[in-house]
């Protein structure tokens, strides 16, 4: 076993420090003053949780930081972590009108962080008024972003909310599974505490179906929300996968979040299989924790990788290597991994990756990190709620606006529903399900945070992204395809 800590505590605190430090007050002011305060702002439309972005930015500009944080957290209870991990370049910042003026978009993520840090660092309670209890009870299975989003909204609507979380801490992947240099567990746990401060009870170390029966929950609560996320990493299905030194990406990232940084074991030559955002998190952190070489192995090309462009840039800057059009066929080693047998691949006529005959080669590695994406928890879901309808991909089927499943009382949101998207999508879906639950139980559902135009937001993309989530690149692609136009610039 050649996995061992390779870096001093001091070096780790530097190499794993946050990529984007907090704004200094003057930086924040200058950036906030740049915002035009658009009406029907595209950034709001591109935010799945529909944060009134120009609204909170103007508050930063007037030094009303608590008010700014309240605007953010009212729409998105995980506003502090989303400020750090959201793919802002394809969401709010990607929609900023400044781009059209050939200027840099407003740094919405960093401003959001500035405002939310202010209230967390100074222990300011932004929600001092508790909702009047409405006598209803809701149980939320899983303590990740979807459940926290759902819990905050339900608590504000007067529900008694209990979250059941299997792990020792709530927060889900925010607490255990995001690159340390983007989001530290402390930020996630502070948000968990914020949710608790709304009156939500979080029972950790409880696995539903094992420590408590699902039937009991269904009987005791008026509504149940499934925020169970996804399961283990997909298998490589190649010989030698069980050798020592082969770990799952989320397991590796979990070590980083639960041990002192200088005690996280890492190989000298690390291979990461896969090229999604989690693969990037794994390869960069392996490098930052002292690996001499850290290499992404991906069976398709650079242009096909699912990781965001800016994530790819981080990995390149960190000096990580990329083996595109390459796939592992065997893990070699005597007990512990010593090398990978690899083949070259190419895209065939249908665009699928196929092996190039006779291209086999071997490369030395002492650690292999699997990052092929997480499995759906089909069997677990079927065990918990036998009648639950799932689609072919193993996602829970539900109503798009309310998150209600085919099973009475049961609502869903987050990765279990969408198959694995961003934190902000999970929060939004949790919030939607909360409103769905409330409506289903006969409550009044409140409107979005922004004032409508005279013409209203009845159709098309206006108002808040919570009602009509808009994702810039996808929308643009669809639009120009439909118009059969080539985009200028």
């Amino acid at each position: 076993m050649t996995l061992k800590p390779r870096i001093t505590a001091e070096a780790a605190s530097q190499s794993m420090a946050e990529i984007e430090p907090k704004y200094r007050p003057q930086e924040a002011k200058v950036e906030a003053d740049r915002c035009l305060y658009c009406f029907d702002a595209p950034c709001i439309m591109a935010c799945p949780t529909g944060i009134d972005i120009p609204g909170f930015i103007k508050k930063i500009a007037t030094h009303n930081l608590t008010g700014a944080a309240r605007v953010i957290l009212e729409s998105n209870i995980l506003g502090a972590s989303c400020a750090r991990v959201c793919p802002t370049s394809v969401l709010c910042e990607g929609a900023c009108v400044m781009l059209d003026r050939d200027e840099k978009p407003i740094k919405i993520g960093r401003l959001q962080r500035y405002a939310t840090d202010h209230v967390f660092d100074n222990k300011i309670n932004v929600f001092p008024v508790k909702a009047r209890p409405n006598g209803r009870k809701a149980a939320l299975i899983g303590g990740g972003p979807a459940s926290l989003g759902c819990a905050a909204e339900l608590a504000r609507l007067g529900y008694q909310v209990v979250i059941f979380e299997k792990k020792p801490e709530a927060g889900g992947l925010n607490t255990y599974g995001i690159a340390y240099y983007k989001l530290t567990p402390e930020v996630s746990l502070a948000e968990v505490n914020l949710v608790k401060s709304l009156g939500v009870e979080i029972r950790t170390g409880i696995e539903v179906g094992k420590d408590i029966a699902m039937d009991k929950i269904l009987a005791e609560y008026d509504a149940v929300f499934l925020g169970v996320g996804l399961g283990n990493t997909l298998k490589l299905d190649i010989p030698g996968e069980d050798k020592q030194g082969v770990v799952e990406a989320l397991e590796f990232i979990d070590w980083i979040h639960t041990r002192p940084l200088h005690q996280v074991p890492v190989g000298e030559r690390v291979a990461v299989i896969g090229c999604g955002n989690t693969a990037i998190d794994a390869v960069t952190q392996a490098k930052r924790l002292g690996a001499k070489e850290a290499t992404i192995i991906y069976r398709r090309g650079e242009e096909d990788m699912p990781a965001y462009e800016y994530e790819y840039e981080i990995a390149k800057k960190d000096g990580c290597a990329f083996l595109f059009h390459t796939a592992p066929v065997e893990v070699i080693g005597n007990g512990s991994v010593t090398a990978l047998k690899l083949v070259k691949t190419r895209n065939n006529a249908e665009g699928k990756a196929e092996v190039v005959p006779g291209s086999e080669f071997t490369k030395e590695f002492d650690m292999v990190i699997k990052a092929l994406g997480q499995q759906k928890q089909v069997s677990m879901l079927k065990k918990l709620v036998p009648d639950l309808a799932l689609d072919k991909a193993g996602r829970v089927v539900c109503d798009a606006q309310t998150g209600q499943t085919n099973v009475e009382k049961v609502f869903v949101g987050g990765d279990a529903r969408n198959g694995g998207r961003e934190v902000v999508n999970a929060v939004a879906e949790g919030k939607k399900a909360a409103r769905g639950i409330h409506a289903w139980l006969g409550g009044q559902v409140t409107a979005g945070p922004v004032q409508n135009s005279r013409l209203g937001n009845k159709d098309g993309i206006t108002g808040s992204g919570f009602d009509h989530p808009a994702r810039v690149p996808e929308l643009e692609a669809a639009y120009y395809q439909s118009k059969n136009e080539v985009r200028h610039g």
Binding site: K29, V30, D33, L36, Y37, C38, F39, D40, A41, P42, M45, A46, A61, A95, C96, V97, M98, L99, D100, R101, P105, S453, R454, L455, G460, I461, T462, A470, V472, L475, E476, A478, Y479, Y480, K483, R487, G489
Partner: protein, 436 residues
């Protein structure tokens, strides 16, 4: 290269850019630095019985990222002795014979005015400026704006000064008055050679919300200060035009108030100023700002084919007239250039909530989209029928030349309010119906 030299009532300077009577014009050292940088004249910090100042003295109005959009002070006239000031003026004149050095004066009795006037002549000053403008401190002692607010007192004091005046006399006016032409006419009646305006405006720039004391702070208290800087330019231009267009004033004018660059200066000159005086911009950036003022004005005059800055003077004065003379039948409306529109919809909400509800949000309808906009997002469209041509949308639009105002042919003859009233009275036309 156009000729920038000016002659204000006999005071000659190589260009129209003068340092105003203020902290930048306090010493010979500063005067030398100003002339080295290229300034054409210096109006000395007001000379009088030496005063004692307080600490602190200045405050500002900052907007967004812009510092000192407005600026105020509670500093009094020169705290140096008249002997020192007149000696230093003499030094400056010796070294800079072709530049204008003007002694700014403030005192009380006839004897004292005579004394200061004579000493100004003796030290070689090119002219004097009588400070009837300071709205803080000195006015409490019956000087400064206390004089400037009373045309009779102006007339009397200017009369005293003119009894011994051997060099041109400029009267500096306070804007803290309802009708600026009254004191200007008084100065004229008393024989002044020129006027300068505006001095600073009574102000409180900001209140400290922790100690509830405005700035500038003097041990828990503050006082009304004199306001200046870019934010006062519109007020200054208005008063300048009022004096320049008044036949009963008919004096050369040195324009003051918020001038920071050649464009500001050109606007003042176009509204009738012969020279312009600058203070706040120097206090912000130093004397070097004159370099672009000279260069920019020169370039502008060349482009316009004007051989001398004097050709520019007063060109805009006649374009300002009474409201009742404006053509009611003229119409212009807003026009959005969709190639430039960035989709901020500020025009929409400004018109909707703040004006005349004449912009609709409609489907983009093939007008094309820029990179920052969401496909399918509604775009603003001018409602031609409802648009009153108020300019608001074009003012809020953050993109240059995106919303422009275009003339609409109304096919109606020129008719001002005055003409309308006449025609109505004569029964020639129907009353224009009220707006629904």
């Amino acid at each position: 290269m156009a000729d920038l030299s000016v002659n204000l009532a006999g005071i000659k300077s190589p260009n129209p850019f003068w340092v105003a009577s203020a902290p930048p014009a306090n010493t010979a050292y500063q005067c030398h630095r100003a002339f080295e940088a290229g300034w054409g004249g210096v109006v000395w910090k007001t000379i009088g019985d030496p005063i004692v100042n307080v600490s602190s003295r200045y405050s500002s109005l900052d907007i967004g990222g812009n510092r000192m959009v407005g600026f105020n002070n509670i500093e009094l006239i020169s705290d140096r002795s008249p002997e020192t000031n007149f000696r230093e003026i003499a030094e400056c004149k010796k070294r800079w014979p072709n530049h204008a050095v003007i002694a700014s004066l403030m005192t009380d009795t006839r004897e004292n005015w005579h004394d200061y006037m004579k000493r100004s002549v003796d030290c070689g000053a090119d002219g004097v400026e009588l400070n009837f403008g300071c709205p803080h401190g000195m006015c409490e002692r019956g000087m400064g704006s206390a004089v400037g607010q009373n045309p009779d007192v102006i007339e009397a004091i200017v009369g005293w000064v003119m009894e011994v005046a051997e060099i041109p006399v400029i009267v500096k006016l306070t804007p803290n008055i309802t009708d600026i032409t009254r004191p200007a006419r008084a100065a004229k009646r008393a024989g002044a050679d020129a006027i300068s305006l505006i001095n600073t405006i009574n102000s409180i720039t900001q209140v400290n919300l922790d100690n509830f004391c405005p700035e500038p702070y003097v041990q828990g208290y503050s006082t009304h200060g004199g306001y200046c800087g870019p934010a006062v330019k519109p007020i200054a231009l208005n008063m300048l035009q009022a004096c320049a267009s008044d036949p009963q004033v008919g004096l050369p004018i040195s324009g003051i108030g918020g001038i920071g660059n050649w464009k500001d200066a050109a606007e003042f000159i176009a509204l009738g100023a012969t020279s312009v005086q600058v203070c706040t911009a120097i206090m912000h950036y130093g004397f070097r700002i004159v370099e672009d003022m000279i260069d920019g004005l020169n370039d502008y005059l060349d482009k316009k084919g004007m051989a001398s800055v004097n050709e520019l003077r007063g060109r805009a004065v006649k374009s300002v007239d009474k409201w009742e003379t404006l053509n009611l039948n003229y119409k212009r409306i807003a026009d959005i250039n969709y190639d430039k529109c960035i989709g901020c919809n500020l025009c929409y909400i400004a018109c909707e909530d703040g004006a005349h509800q004449a912009i609709d949000l409609v489907d983009e309808g093939g007008r094309g989209l820029g990179p920052g906009r969401l496909p399918g997002k509604k775009i603003p469209q001018i409602n031609v029928e409802h648009c009153v041509g108020c300019n608001l949308c074009s003012l809020v639009c953050p993109v240059e030349n995106c919303i422009t105002m275009v003339d609409v042919e109304t096919k109606k003859p020129h008719m001002s309010w005055k003409e309308y009233q006449t025609k109505l009275a004569a029964g020639e036309i129907e009353r224009i119906p009220a707006h629904p």
